[in-house]
Subunit: 363 residues, 2 copies
Amino acid sequence: MAHQHPEPSAAQTDPEPAAPMPPRRRSRPTIGDVAALARVSKATVSFVVNGRAGVSSRARQRVLEAAAELGWQPSAGARALSTRRAQALGLVIRRPPELLSTDPFFPQFLAGVESGLSPLDYALVLQVVETEEAERNAYERLSHDGRADGVFLTDLQLDDRRPVLTDGLGLAALIIGPERRDSPVPALGVDDAEGVRRAVEHLHALGHRRIGHVSGAEGYVHAEARRRAWTAALDDAGLPEGPLEAADFTGAGGARATHALLDLPEPPTAILYANDLMAIAGIAAATGRGLRVPEDLSVVGFDDIPLSEYVAPPLTTIRQDVIAWGRAAAQQLVSLAQGHPFQATALPPVEFVARASTAPPAR
Amino acid sequence: MAHQHPEPSAAQTDPEPAAPMPPRRRSRPTIGDVAALARVSKATVSFVVNGRAGVSSRARQRVLEAAAELGWQPSAGARALSTRRAQALGLVIRRPPELLSTDPFFPQFLAGVESGLSPLDYALVLQVVETEEAERNAYERLSHDGRADGVFLTDLQLDDRRPVLTDGLGLAALIIGPERRDSPVPALGVDDAEGVRRAVEHLHALGHRRIGHVSGAEGYVHAEARRRAWTAALDDAGLPEGPLEAADFTGAGGARATHALLDLPEPPTAILYANDLMAIAGIAAATGRGLRVPEDLSVVGFDDIPLSEYVAPPLTTIRQDVIAWGRAAAQQLVSLAQGHPFQATALPPVEFVARASTAPPAR
DNA sequence: GGCGCCATTCAAACCGGTTTAAAATCTGAG
DNA sequence: CTCAGATTTTAAACCGGTTTGAATGGCGCC
């Protein structure tokens, strides 16, 4: 009853009064615990897990056993602090959240990146920002905080300053998209032009002569690339210039642009869209006007999103293996972050997928 | 003539930099640099940036000036090591990469999470794993490595062991989805049932009596919830049980299930799908059989993905504000990770969106 | 037996912060 | 002018690893 409790926490466990034992912490074992159990120093344990020479096989054996018994794995955080390696890559996306969710490219790319990263035991740190300043700040913090060893640069704009920024920070970086001249940062991208050419040839062979294009958001490198490829392909095929309508990669934009093209005095008989989302919306827009696809209007998309095969009519499109692209990008950036030089990697080429949204034009 | 270049960095413009010292990553200032410049100790700087009492305003002033001059910001990594707080949340997704990219829920949720996280200066660590063991491992490492202070649990299965796991790790967690009884982990989800009821009432009012359902992947909590809501809503409306076909949330599955339902001796006149992706594929499947939507078959989706408004016919669906959900989840989990108790938050209710894919049944 | 050499091993410093306990300084009352 | 009490400041330990420089031990050789 009148017990004195000079040390309330110590009074609970009776048999061990000398050892102060914090009962709450169930924290995982540290390198020190392993070292103690194996009767070696922390340094030896560190050598073993990092495969460094200079450890007797007897000691190595004991360390491995101790680590296994305790279920110990080195803490990536602590390791990052001493080695300045985060074992993680960063992906910063500047886009309002509402727009992010409409982009079918993003989740596929992310899936690919992850599938490339997880075997290498790298994590991915994601940030979505809205302003350019916040974006710059994000890269700086990612670098300085030791949260990421390298970053992906996506949605590159024509006058983008991020390559210079990451270069100045000494942060490994990889541009996702077509290569650019004079860039301090290497790029990894597939050649959109080949697929576009194949699509135009396909339409040409069907008999189309007025082939329009609905382009993606202006100022973006990949939107420009696809637009230029369309112009060049028309030229190569000996066809006249076609009508162009600028859009923004969204369903709403695709629908609007489609109406604009069909309102022309001489509307195109086929339209090539800069992505599938706009193409699907375009089919709906044309159908809504009483046109039949593909009889009255042929439609070609770009990306081959999972849904494209399952709309009516199934969409003829240009397939990019975005997952493979993401995987290759992840591997490449890890390699760059580890200090290896850039090595050009072959990506699976874009592939033209003919489905039912294209047909000969009505005579 | 011979200009003097006293600055050490001046030799950089030489064409062949045989420089022995390539300053790779320019190291950013540390707390020590700031302390030295402000002529105080590291502890004082730490107190200032953490808003702790016991610093004279003179000292505080000097510290802030020094930090501003050096452009110093504390390193999240080092801070994580000493405080065991990562200022980051984790999201582990167990799904093959191919499937991840077909899920329209995911990017929207991610966008919402990010929009909730970035004002709080929290980062998001993403991991995609394929096996259950890798998943468990991921949570353990996230926790032990100090990479994340809390984790989201998504795609909960009926007998999921993750709540027990994170609870055992002492890791804050939040289930994304309907609440569950006896779970050690709180859940945040909208009530799917209300939307489903509204949809069934809508179809009933139009005159439908045979209302089928294409459900999502079996074993998943949200797929089950929608299926049960459908059964209950039919019952409430005084309608007979409808035909059910299990699918998997993908376009292919939706198409297959649609054909199965339409092959029945007495096919339904309306189908409620567990997500929009399957509904859109269902429209195409029905159209491919020569049926007209909505005249011969009414279709209702679930989610209201951005494309749903722009398919032909525009999809009647049940809208979830997934972005708001993600944002609320992020705020809630941060709060949990900071040790605050769970506080039920109101989510925007699901909303029934009537478009053109529903109509009275052909008589 | 004494010596040098090489292979192991380890104590200690370090990464960049936080936090504690104690020292230093400043008050104001007596 | 003293001294207790409150306020401000700092040195040092710590988080969990890596890395270095030096100590230890075993072995062959003269």
